[in-house]
Symmetry: C2
Subunit: 237 residues, 2 copies
Amino acid sequence: MALRRSALQSGPVKEVTGPSTSRGATRGQVDAAVRSGLLSGRFIPGKAVTIRGLAAELGVSPMPVREVLQRLAAENALEVKPNGRVQVPDMTPARFDEVLKARRLLEPELAELALPHLTSRDAKDLRSIDDDIDERLTSGDAEAYMRLNHAFHFRIYRASGSKVLLPLIDSLWLQFAPFMRTVYGRVGTASLEDRHKEAIRAIEEQNGAALRAAIEADITDGMGLLGKEILSDASGG
Amino acid sequence: MALRRSALQSGPVKEVTGPSTSRGATRGQVDAAVRSGLLSGRFIPGKAVTIRGLAAELGVSPMPVREVLQRLAAENALEVKPNGRVQVPDMTPARFDEVLKARRLLEPELAELALPHLTSRDAKDLRSIDDDIDERLTSGDAEAYMRLNHAFHFRIYRASGSKVLLPLIDSLWLQFAPFMRTVYGRVGTASLEDRHKEAIRAIEEQNGAALRAAIEADITDGMGLLGKEILSDASGG
DNA sequence: CGTGTCATTTTGTGATCACAAAATGATTTC
DNA sequence: GAAATCATTTTGTGATCACAAAATGACACG
């Protein structure tokens, strides 16, 4: 598919589909598209991301894509190689360890900060998301699982109103998500165990220590067990 | 002052001063300039940063500036307001608390990770930097102090070889540095106490627990004491 | 003198262009 | 047939342009 808008037109054309014509709308759209692609595993580590390619795919000019790629590179979600090429970073054992360590330091903390802001309404929504997750796990839809798992965690974290810790955690998820997708591609999703139900109960009971423990266990179970072996295997094939 | 390079020239001009003609050299130069400006406090919170203005100041076209500003906005070092305007974010008590919390979680951890890689040579360099810091503190040169204090901490952190925690901490420093500059502008630098000497001794002795403690105490002393009161005062004047 | 209005200027955004470096693929050479 | 070489294509980068939104300042009006 080529550019939706050919070079025949000399001037910019008004967007018809999008109601949001606010400042930086195109950039926001591109940013959301790439972020969502990374988080749901549609971008594979090592895969090259070209400016013109993405621009054509999204039907926009290279300009907003350039800025978005720079943004995501700043968050270490993408890697700008010395020759200027942009790609999804490869995971290494050392990197994996660090992400795991950072997640275990930051996410339980932010969850506890969010706790006072989490209502029974939130608990209800979380339970709904978690039910969806269970379905996707058994049906083996890894992409949907990743999207929902992200939604679950960030529904909690966002309640904190955090402007500092939340972006840091955002960056971490963007970094490990593409790799985890490849993991699920190998081992499947059926064996995945999470601690979401413990977390929901802790929220309902407004039990900070229990929420911390649930989140930390969820991280450890979700990443710690799977990732290490895969990485050591990966070096051999 | 207008653009140094007028519109009379039609094509790009070869750089004469810079020896590095590698890919993205201009962007790298702009990035380094803005980062250094933020870290040493030459940018004041609330101050607007215009693309064309910065471009003219640095003698480059708006293009690389646009990308750099997007990068730094992604690291929360700059803020893109809904109207597209870019400014140095204002510090709030909530934000300050979060930065402090994140620093105390991440920096002692990374310091300990770096410890095995820190040699006596590093300790010697750190002592030299710390001597410089002491001089600047008494002479009241806040900008130099900030630059050297950053150099001290990141000399330690960088030794870890970290690719995950280090960028997170980088982002944190970019966020609080401009604010701290305004603090030093009010209370001066003479009263500043740090734990650098304890940290150096811990490195020499390869004592992880002591290094953690020194870093955490340094953060608490440096930020915790000063910032809070200033922020509560700021609301009244 | 304060306030609302309007013309002007500034600014961000998206698009396009020109160029050089890099990747790609065909072709030649041994 | 494998490796080196060269032409071609792709790609990132910096610059410039056109446009619209926003900010600014002058000015009229009450």
